[in-house]
Symmetry: C2
Subunit: 144 residues, 2 copies
Amino acid sequence: MDMNQTHIFGESLFRLLHAYKRALRENFTAVGIELTVSHIRVLKRIAGMPQCTAQAVAAGMQIDKGRIARLMKELETEHLIEKRHHPEDSRSRQITLTHQGRTLIERINTVEAETSEYMVAGIDKEQLMTCAHIINDMVKNLET
Amino acid sequence: MDMNQTHIFGESLFRLLHAYKRALRENFTAVGIELTVSHIRVLKRIAGMPQCTAQAVAAGMQIDKGRIARLMKELETEHLIEKRHHPEDSRSRQITLTHQGRTLIERINTVEAETSEYMVAGIDKEQLMTCAHIINDMVKNLET
DNA sequence: GCACTTAGTTGTCAATGTCAACCATTGCGG
DNA sequence: CCGCAATGGTTGACATTGACAACTAAGTGC
């Protein structure tokens, strides 16, 4: 890959995430979900981690722990998550989805799946899987 | 691609761009380039467009024209670009790189190439090209 | 001439990222 | 056990990026 193609690759990444984020926002608001993309990402992360804690979310998503604290505070005031005292470490809190949170996650997954379907329309499934693996490899290269 | 894999794909995009941007910022500041990633993206775009105008940059990058105006104003105060009266439309300005701008672009290209090299280390070149095409296809799907 | 569009600038605010200070705990070496 | 560094979390402050709308000036077409 020469320098010119590399350039195009990096630019394409900016374009893709920009467009993807915009599509997500649009589709979420279209069905009446008022959360920001960040809130939704965190909520999904919590949903995927049993006995979740804030630091685990922050570490797992490579997001500043301060930002996570604020996002979670807002998710809590929206009654989408609950914080309980951690049984073994009173500094820490265990985060769990509320019933509302679980219901919302289902709607979120639907919207996200539809958005992704649109994004990958007409693209060969096998190449797509390859692409997904490569993206993960690139993340690994950069994050270590 | 089932729903679960789709989810992972979207999340990976967030992760990748986050890590890529951070790596870029780090490498730019390491060599003493103090511009933000946005400023650099715009500067590169200008470099790649002869007889460039603000609206062309905004349209080409899918970025708000107000934001472009501000970024360009700052690039101008840094003496990296110049605005001249457009010969055929006095509303418009032709944007050109200054000598300093052209010099900087070379350094930028080097840093960016190194960052990309690091990002794609150990990844099959052919698969990488496929991935780049797919990314462009996805952008096309979303932006139209 | 007049309505409409276009290029650019500016104001305002929301969303996101980064860094540092801080508190309350915990765990650990002595 | 004590002192102290490390950890989980919260908060403050600020920079970056994105979105939208109002506005000026100038072109375009009827």
